[in-house]
Symmetry: C3
Subunit: 342 residues, 3 copies
Amino acid sequence: MEISLADIARTIGGKLIGNGNKIIRGASCFENADKDHIILAGSAKYLNRLDETKAGAVIVPSNFDTSSISRDMVAVENPMADFSKLLEIFYPGPKVEQYISPNAVIGDNFISGNNISISHFVSIGSNVSMGDRVRIHSGVVIEDNVTIGSDVEIHSNVSIYARSQIGSRVIIHSGTVIGSDGFGFAPDKEKYQKIPHTGIVCIEDDVEIGALNAIDRATFGETRIKRGVKTDNFVHIAHNVVVGEDTLLVAQVGISGSTTLGNHVIVAGQAGISGHLNIGSNAIVGPRAGIAKDVPDNEIVSGAPEMPHKLWLRVQNIIPKLPELKKKISELEKRLKKVEEK
Amino acid sequence: MEISLADIARTIGGKLIGNGNKIIRGASCFENADKDHIILAGSAKYLNRLDETKAGAVIVPSNFDTSSISRDMVAVENPMADFSKLLEIFYPGPKVEQYISPNAVIGDNFISGNNISISHFVSIGSNVSMGDRVRIHSGVVIEDNVTIGSDVEIHSNVSIYARSQIGSRVIIHSGTVIGSDGFGFAPDKEKYQKIPHTGIVCIEDDVEIGALNAIDRATFGETRIKRGVKTDNFVHIAHNVVVGEDTLLVAQVGISGSTTLGNHVIVAGQAGISGHLNIGSNAIVGPRAGIAKDVPDNEIVSGAPEMPHKLWLRVQNIIPKLPELKKKISELEKRLKKVEEK
Amino acid sequence: MEISLADIARTIGGKLIGNGNKIIRGASCFENADKDHIILAGSAKYLNRLDETKAGAVIVPSNFDTSSISRDMVAVENPMADFSKLLEIFYPGPKVEQYISPNAVIGDNFISGNNISISHFVSIGSNVSMGDRVRIHSGVVIEDNVTIGSDVEIHSNVSIYARSQIGSRVIIHSGTVIGSDGFGFAPDKEKYQKIPHTGIVCIEDDVEIGALNAIDRATFGETRIKRGVKTDNFVHIAHNVVVGEDTLLVAQVGISGSTTLGNHVIVAGQAGISGHLNIGSNAIVGPRAGIAKDVPDNEIVSGAPEMPHKLWLRVQNIIPKLPELKKKISELEKRLKKVEEK
């Protein structure tokens, strides 16, 4: 792949600074770039030492003062996102060509679009449909009545239970389980009676699910992951949860049953959210937070129990000083006693 | 499926109120019920607005005053459990019919009961036995010398290591791993020497294991999951753990090696329990608790470090007020100084 | 397998005490040993009641006073590690013999050593190489351009993405995912642009990875798990993380992107480490700790926020006493007011 720097600037809508005829053959990182590579210098950490990289060209923020820099550059509004687009151009995923492994098993009434790729030991149930350019890696199990959109990639050893619905441009990483029964049992004297789960899981368009996620089907109705959601590894999403658009769920997050997250929420790593709560749009939940109450729109909460993030920062500072505070209280008591006895 | 309301009342042992001849054709939820559906109204949330559902019949608690309600109802002692039984009647799992995929591989000395179903790309080792009506989904791996009871369902891509023992009426959800080596290494100068794990995992009758659980085999002897235990997703059970009967382990719980849980324990989500502990019967461990000491029978503990739940509730209230308390202490110091200097 | 006690002493470099001609036929545990078994009594718990075991011989620490004990024993420097070596002798893993299942699929340009075993429904991509005595269990997926050393065991249903590198004497337990894309998305107005991950995962020699781990590939460059690392179940290792030699990661630990761990670190269960941090060599991170700052070499830290372990022990003691402290402060206020009003 060879692209001139001028073409790169045009493609990502940036401002060319320097030699537009320079040919770029790859995108890489600051430390390891070759002379025909383009790199990202999105923050001061890299911008302050641009002379240290061998890269042939640099993506810089449009508000960066380039007047004293003698390098070939492209200035953009949104360096990380624009550089990511370049990465996709230089390192495109494999083109999906029509291929169905003779070692795959496909059930009755299979409906599929064009250029689908189904690898070895994939098991597809009855009445499954999928769109164009769907790529199913080895060892994936898709049970009956599942629907899948177009331009979907499902990595190896994913398990998708019956009747799950998956949109277009969805990526699901290896080992993930979609549509398992929610954790619902009714006490029946000393034992527990299983509550059958007749609902489904819906995953909308443009969602990326990390490795080894578990997304449970609803008791009734649906568990819904809305457009643009991205999840890291080991995310647990219980029955009847709704995750709003463009929400990020970081690794090892757990969301209990029937909780609803708004749009553009961020839940940081290892946080847990109780059931039947509403987490407002644009809310941010701090790492390892334990959320037991509703969170309003636009709030940043941290801690367990959760509290406003700014308060939590102050609390965090005090906790290691508790032994000191305890000592102060004892001293105050002694001194006060003395004064009282006067 | 069509059942008269009188038959429903008889089947679940409830009291019929209203038209016993009404034909019911499904069970669903309050909001989406059709006229020939029966629903559950187990709590005030629904009982207070029974006029809002279209459902043809309602399961209500036997202590609910139905005198002023003009609806067809069945009053029962245990609404959730009894409604769950109805769900199983209206939406039974697929009947397990004898089917062994030509794409499964089964080792020597396979012993099996009647009406077993083994789906595609299932790998079964040597000397494996299973009872009647066992259903193995695609991609499951069962290694040598595993025994499985009757009426068991093992979902797709489950991995069961050699010599594991699984009882009857067990459900195991996708991606779960049973019988992997425990995390045991002996320091040997700077390096670690692996401690071989010669033990096994035993799962007793009526257990349901969620998706993506990991249950390690014992160093010697066995890791044992007793009758009626139910686990949510992502539960980690280390080597030589014993989980007592009818115990619930909620999502992302971790139990360290050689710990014993009594009967009818509940461990809430994301809690962690250290090794070599005893958690008493009927104990409840709060969400995200970190348990480092034994818990007596019938105790409710929360927090990390764990403490009685009622104490923890008070502690939880104070933590966000720590900045305030710190300020108060400073003020007290200043005021006391003034008094002292008088 | 029959070995004389004298040979056992010689093999593990211990001091024979008692009858060297005694024939030992197995190794087991204190409670269940037979007369021809050897057991480990590494701590006072067992050493104080050696008369209670039926075992024929006992491994004891070399500093244990055996003068009054009339038992056949072998005294060693490092009882657990030496006993583990005996376990490996008495219960060796199956000898790996050349076997490639007719139900496996292997891509072009496969290069392999001698005596490899590839079980059923294993999918191996193109340009994969592996050394001698590699054992791949059923349902494993290995994508293109993966390299694997010698004496490696990969358990069932593991997923290994393209270009991953795996050393020699590595064990990977079931369900683990190696090489999935890191969680990297660049905000692009309201949506997120995926950051392509062109890097790889390198796992060095003598590493053991537990069940259901997720180790993400680097954005650029590599995520590296160095020689001798051992991980428990459910460990999350994000993109560009480096884990130093002989480091232990206990169950449900999460390590965020670009963090580096030194050699011989221990991270206890359910702990989380933020991104872009340095955890020094020989550091110990306590269970459930939340690490947000660098940890120097040799430090022991606990808590969230992390603090020196000894401080944390004192803080842990005070937290349940917060209601008491709060009450004391109120009382002090009242008493001080009285004094002030005098």
